[in-house]
């Protein structure tokens, strides 16, 4: 809540008798006027000066003697670490961590530019591996989210370089990200960090599949291992956040199968040997179920529906129907869980999934043999009806949730109902 909001709204609260004038003053004192943003000006100024210096150096880089270039790189490296450490001690963690992150970036730039300086070609990842090691080390020492994000990005960049330019997969880089940052996540799960880490790990898994020339469906074994790790995480929010990227990947794949799967042309690309693939997937499922049971989140088990290997069916109508049934079952399970937990966000997601599945089903099953204007008319009516129904369900669930919350807060449920009913009609 911003201070300006408090300033403009609070006199009305006093007038309505919600709070007394004394309480208003207490609230205002609790959220003091923030210092004007003038502190930004010196930072902006120094950024501009820094940029001008950088452009002078960049323009003359090739002309500078080698020793001077090396000295410049190392000087700015040490300088930004020292400045970061200084600002951290002064109690300015944002700037401090930012400068240490800059030092980490300069380290990578120094490795690359020094190799270029000596026209040196390396044939494995060892040159850039040190970059990832430094990132993990700094993340541990400073426990800063920014440094963790940077290290995930650096790990992804180094691995991409290895696979694309050197034709090898650097297992050491992958293990540094999995082990080093995975352990960090296990101890300090944080929502944004979990999203980024999961996305970075999926990137590594995808590159591994590319480097091994394996069938792309093998991707889901490591992806679901990440998901299973989220099941074991004691911190619910962090664990859940780690599961979102693998789930999105699995959903998109199933969705793609429902839309494009009827031609059998993909058979060679998608179908790994049945028994090893299913064995690996079931093993991961077992880990995930054990985690869900240990943490009491078995209700999320239907998410595994998305991993049903429908691509083993021969293409055509059977596959289209099977994937649609799975998409509906998944959307239904999300809606059911959201209803039970009175979770409006989940409800919205479930509704979107449901509408998406309906759209695909309609498109797949009727496009071929229906007059096009009729097709769009019925499709539009179908979606309108569906959205009306889902919104009604949503409103009912929220209305059911509101009295429960009000009761918990100690207010009589009836009063809450009465005060909300006219409000609702007025809004609609």
């Amino acid at each position: 809540m911003s201070r300006r909001f408090l300033d403009t709204e609070s006199p009305g609260w006093v007038a309505d008798g919600l709070i007394s004038e004394a309480q208003r003053q207490q609230l205002l004192a609790r959220y003091p006027q923030q210092a004007p943003a003038l502190g930004l000006l010196p930072i902006l100024g120094s950024v501009l000066v820094g940029l001008s210096g950088l452009s002078v150096v960049a323009a003359n880089w090739q002309g500078l003697p080698a020793a001077l270039r090396l000295a410049l790189l190392l000087g700015s490296l040490v300088g930004s670490y020292a400045a970061g450490s200084y600002f951290l001690r002064r109690g300015n963690p944002d700037l401090g961590h930012g400068l240490i992150g800059l030092g980490l970036i300069l380290f990578g730039a120094s490795i690359i530019l020094t190799s270029q300086l000596y026209q040196l070609v390396g044939y494995d990842a060892s040159g850039l591996l040190a970059w990832v090691v430094a990132g993990v080390g700094l993340s541990y020492v400073y426990g800063s989210r920014l440094l963790v994000l940077l290290t995930v990005l650096i790990g992804a960049a180094v691995q991409t370089y290895c696979v694309e330019s050197l034709g090898i997969f650097s297992y050491v880089t992958a293990w540094l990200v999995v082990g080093g940052l995975g352990y960090y996540w296990w101890r300090r799960p944080d929502v944004v960090g979990s999203y980024v880490l999961a996305a970075g790990l999926l990137w590594q898994a995808g590159l591994l599949i590319i480097a091994l020339h394996a069938k792309i469906t093998w991707f889901f074994v490591p992806a679901m291992l990440i998901y299973a790790a989220g099941d074991w995480q004691p911190n619910r929010l962090g664990g859940r956040a780690l599961q979102v990227p693998p789930l999105v990947a699995a959903y998109l794949f199933m969705f793609g199968l429902a839309v494009f799967g009827e031609a059998d042309a993909y058979a060679n690309v998608l179908r790994p040997p049945l028994l090893p693939y299913l064995g690996a997937l079931v093993a991961v499922l077992a880990i995930s179920v054990a985690g869900k049971r240990a943490r009491g989140t078995l209700a999320t088990l239907p998410e595994w529906l998305l991993l049903l290997p429908g691509f083993y069916l021969s293409g055509g109508l059977s596959l289209a129907v099977a994937t649609l049934v799975v998409l509906y079952a998944h959307a239904g399970s999300v809606l059911a869980r959201a209803n039970r937990d009175h979770d409006s966000d989940q409800l919205t997601i479930g509704a979107v999934l449901f509408v998406a599945a309906t759209a695909v089903a309609y498109f797949k099953l009727t496009w071929g043999f229906m007059d096009k204007s009729l097709f769009f008319l019925i499709g539009g009516i179908l979606l309108l009806a569906l959205s009306w129904y889902l919104r009604r369900r949503n409103a009912q669930v929220l209305a059911a949730a509101a009295p429960a919350v009000a009761q918990q807060a100690g207010a009589p449920a009836l009063a809450a109902d009465n005060s909300e009913a006219p409000e609702a009609t007025r809004n609609s």
């Binding site: 080698a66 300086l117 070609v121 044939y123």
Partner: protein
């Protein structure tokens, strides 16, 4: 067991750990520079010929683009159990000829043992054709010292260039010099 993260982030250890990390990074960058000098000093020297490429593209920013004669090989030079695949990393066995230029003798999936007068350069398969395949060596760019680029560009239009490459025993390689081939009259 004490938590690894708390051990690392304890305030008392923060400064010494940061100093260690920064010192290690500085030493590492110096090590990369040292590897550059060591590759020149200790490496095997080979001279490679380039084939002319589109002259408009030759000088590209700060570097000259080079295309090596050893980069194009007939499939008969391939010594592997399976056909070469794109992006595969390979080893090129080089032999020095009478005109001091090195040419490719064979291309191997595993490192061959060079005899006297031979050297091994690593490369990657870029394209595979029915009867031949192309390689790259990550040596395709030569960052020209200030002002000398134009001279090379003019030379490259008329004659192939000669590129001196040092190959270190531990596998790194660097270009030490690029010059115009002596004109044949």
């Amino acid at each position: 067991m004490t938590d690894l993260l708390s051990w690392f982030s304890a305030p008392a250890r923060r400064r010494p750990l940061l100093r260690t990390l920064v010192a290690a990074q500085v030493l590492y960058v110096l090590g990369v520079a040292g590897a550059g000098y060591a590759t020149t000093a200790l490496g095997k020297r080979v001279v490679l010929a380039t084939t002319p490429i589109d002259p408009r593209d030759l000088l590209y920013g700060d570097f000259v683009r080079l295309r090596y004669a050893i980069g194009e090989n007939p499939l008969s030079r391939w010594h592997g159990p399976e056909a070469p695949k794109r992006r595969q990393s390979v080893f090129v066995l080089l032999a020095t000829g009478s005109d001091s230029l090195s040419t490719a003798v064979g291309v191997y999936p595993q490192a061959p043992t060079p005899s006297v007068g031979q050297a091994v350069l690593r490369g990657w398969v870029t394209d595979v054709y029915p009867a031949s395949f192309n390689l790259r060596f990550n040596l395709e760019r030569y960052y020209v010292p200030e002002g000398s680029g134009l001279r090379l560009e003019k030379a490259g239009r008329l004659h192939p260039l000669r590129v001196r490459v040092s190959i270190a025993p531990w596998g790194q390689a660097r270009i030490t010099n690029v010059e115009a081939e002596p004109a044949k009259k």
